[in-house]
């Protein structure tokens, strides 16, 4: 989940870490559980998020999270979050 203003940088991170496969949703609305501005794409909360889902081997998870943390450090206001889940089965 990230502010759509981060789109290009997220794509760049994927490239740098040689992550080929991902799914990408543009213009996703939502709000954070604890902090951060809601991103509703409305007049009140005009900004919007995008979200990306990528399935990667375990060894790539930490570098990715690290890259994302660095990106977030640039400016907390813009906002980016990453969540890791296990893939149980695969076709």
């Amino acid at each position: 989940m990230f502010n759509q203003a981060h789109s290009e940088r997220v794509a760049f991170i994927f490239d740098r870490l040689e992550i080929r496969g991902f799914s990408w949703w543009n213009e996703v609305s939502g709000r954070g559980s604890e902090s951060g501005e809601p991103r509703m794409g409305t007049h009140t909360w005009p900004e919007l998020n995008s979200s990306a889902l990528t399935i990667i081997p375990d060894e790539k998870v930490d570098p990715l999270l690290e890259a994302i943390r660095k990106l977030d450090e640039v400016n907390k206001e813009v906002g980016i979050r990453a969540f890791v889940m296990n893939v149980e089965k695969q076709y």
Binding site: Q4, A5, H6, E8, R9, H43, T44, P46, N75
Partner: protein, 1041 residues
Amino acid sequence: MSIYKTAVNKPITTLMVFIGVIVLGIYSLIYLPVDLFPEMDPPYISVITSYPGANASDIEVNITRPMEDAFNSIDNLKEITSTSSDNLSVIFLEFEWESDLNEASNGIRDAIDLMYDYLPDGVSRPTIFKFDLSMMPIAVYAFKAGDSYLGLEQILEEAVVNPLNRIDGIGSVMVIGTPQRRIYVEADPVKLDAYNLTIEQIGNIIQAENLDMPSGNIKMGKMDYQLRVEGEVRESQELENLVVGSFQGGVVLLKDVAVVRDTTKDLMLESRIQGSQGVRMMVMKQSGANTVKVADQVRKTIENLKKNLPPDVEVLEVMDSSEFISDSVTNLTQTMLWALFFVVVVVLFFLGKWRATFIVVLTIPISLIVSFIYLFATGGSLNIISLASLSIALGMVVDDAIVVLENITRHIERGTSPREAAIYATNEVWLSVIITTLVIVAVFFPLTLVGGMTGVLFKQLGWIVSITVTTSTLAAITLTPMLASKLLGLKTKRRVPLPFSHEKVVEPFLTWVEDFYEKTLRFALLHKKLVLILALVIFVGSLFLARFVSSEFIPESDEAQVSVEIELTTGLRVEETIKVADRIEGIIGERYPEAEIHAMMAGSDDEGGMAGLFGQSGSNTISVMMRLSPRDERERSVWAIADDFRDQLNQIPEVVEYTVSTGGMNMGGTSVDVEIFGYDFEVTSRLANELSEKIEAIPGASDVKVSRKDDRPELQVVLDRKKMAESGLNTAMVSAALRNRVAGMTASIFREEGEEYDIVVRFGEEFRSSISDLESFSITSPMGTRVKLGEIGEVQEYWNPPNIERKRRERVVTVSAVPSGVALGDLAQEINAVVARADVPQGIIINVGGAYEEMMDSFMDLGLLLLISLILVFLVMASQFESFVMPFVIMFSIPFSFTGVILALLITNTTLSVIAGLGAVLLIGIVVKNGIVLVDYINLMRDRGYALNEAIAVSGRLRLRPVLMTAFTTILAMVPMALSRGEGSEIWSPMGISLIGGLVFSTIVTMVLVPVVYGIFSRRGERDKMRKVREKFTFLNEHND
């Protein structure tokens, strides 16, 4: 894909589109004609019918009345006025502005066709005459001559008029007051009688003698000769030796009975330039030609032609309308440049960054240039209306770009890459940018729908502002993000700001202003009642003050021209008129050193033609034209000089009436006319004279005139038909004989150097200057006997009845007055009071009209405009906020903008003219815009969960900068316009003044009162949105098992 995203992703395409627009705009600008006002066809058509031999009342009954009735049903006809005088009926039809005059004249033609058969026999076919602005001279030149005065007509015709006529765009060139050479043979009636000769005989002899005749060919030897009889005189003095008869065996030569004078035509008109003899030349342009260009070429051509003129002929420029036009245009252009400068300064002050300022300011030329394309495409011109419109728009076109840029900067400062920031930031604000533009368009667009003369003037204003503002919005959501993505970089802030940098100087100051404002706002929110009462007091107080603002139609401008029409005692001969003219000339020389050039005409030229249509002329009229030194080089204004001139004229006993007018191109006219409708001449004339006396007593009323002229003295020959018949004469024979003796008989033509001059035979002037002289004229009867005029009739003095004027198909007398030193509205009020007190006989209707009526019409139009603008603005706002309450909250600031206008007008002592009024109407859009920005943000903050008062205070603080910025750009852009004191500034500076006054005041009000009113209206329902939602969704509270 959205437009701003495309723009950012394809920067080159975007750039090319805008460069294309600029190129087109510059092309249009080069080919735009320059004029003072937008082109407008005055909707007047006159129909002229002559019926020889009928007197004024015959004409009225038999011609004017039936024709008026026939014309009455023509489409778009506004008013019919007519003048019936001896032999002539002139009907003047006024149509609605912008109606199709070709269609109207077709209608007139149809009406004439229908009723022509019912007119009396002998009535000429009515002539339809369309008035055209191109008949007004664009330049007047004067030619002063010494020795060559007599030949001036010829010299000018060849050396000046013909070359001028070749200039592209010249309509016509007219020379007035040239002396015309004429050869008079003036006979002594006593000697004629003694030698048994008559005028007719002499005339026939001259005709018979002054002759060249080819008489065939003669073949002699090898040659073929042409045979000619050459009898034409080579010198005018040869005429003296013509044999006119024989008497007692000897021959009678012409010089025995008459004097031959080779001279100028009898004096009917004396034309003087700077006190010496000279002539005037008027240059008219073709309709649609560029006044400035044509006048420039005329000036250059005349400069070149000077060397072809004899050394004693001096050329002076009396009037050049192009000079005023180009001065005004230059002036306005300067005003615009200053406005541009101020806008740049304001933007730089608030943004503190050169690149950002550049991006914002770039929208100005682009938006303005588009309006040139519009003007070019619609065949408009660069004139003071279009330039003033651009000036007004200038401060508003940056607003959108500022909003967009500000948001982009905010994103970039958060660390987003400029390209993404440009796209997403524009996405966030583009809708509200469009809405605010819509509000402005909602106010300016109705201007294009107004009718009447005001409509013609303000159509351009409406279109230009609507177009520029729309363009600026388009530029703001395409060009601005594109440039921002390219020019704004991710710069790390300088660690230590320089001592005099923006951050060190301006930032703390702005923060201080914000702190102060927030404190004020919080205080106001806690004391709502106090604020409301204060506001109410200010508003009611200003309404009370409004009574001290006087009103006028269109402000007059100092065009450094004074023209005066003076009428002396009716019937005065031209020689006497010239004596008075001499005295007036003396006064001018003595009292008005400001007059650079003065030209004077006394009497009338019967061949003046056109000139006679516009003003009355006669042997008793004098017209004076003065050209003053430029405005900044003299102390007295043109009005002070005009007033002084009026005082001087009052002291000359021969002067019966006069009109002193200032400036040649005054649009609306300035008179207040009291129209007295009634059939009875006696009653209406008496009432008119009574009223005119009373009006003259009103301070500030000058040039008071009664339109119905005094009876004019005439000599009439009353013939006794019986006595005539006894001598075998009839009326036609007698009147022809009289004409030959007095006016003269054109016997033949004298030729010299290819030019022809009339030879006129008549009695010497000393033999025809009393009634007894006339009665002793002898007329030869067909029987060959001589009869004295006194034997067959008598000469009586007689008073010619006045012309009969009609308006709306009723007889009318108009008493008109021109304000001097007071405003038109005030004078009209005083006159209304006089009229109300007057003792009006039964059956007589009085109406106060003239320019005053037009002014009231225009104010009505403005009022309607105000209403339409209000409704449209309400529509836009209500749909934006999805609320009926919010528009009202914002509109609370509108009345206070009028308070500001009233105060500004009072402080600067400006009158409320149509232009200042228009400024007040335009304020609605600009004022509301600020309110929208603020209220929108308060709504936003409340949606984000802030409490009411907190939301108001926080958003007030956050929105202060943008509101101040847009307000300051608009206000400062208007300052040069309001302060301008150059040529023509009188016309537009009131608009600047009223806009600034209204804006300053309403900005303050918007920032304090609107939040307070918002607080009041939000108490119920709006206040706690959360609770409302809870009430709506009750499902969680139900089914609690």
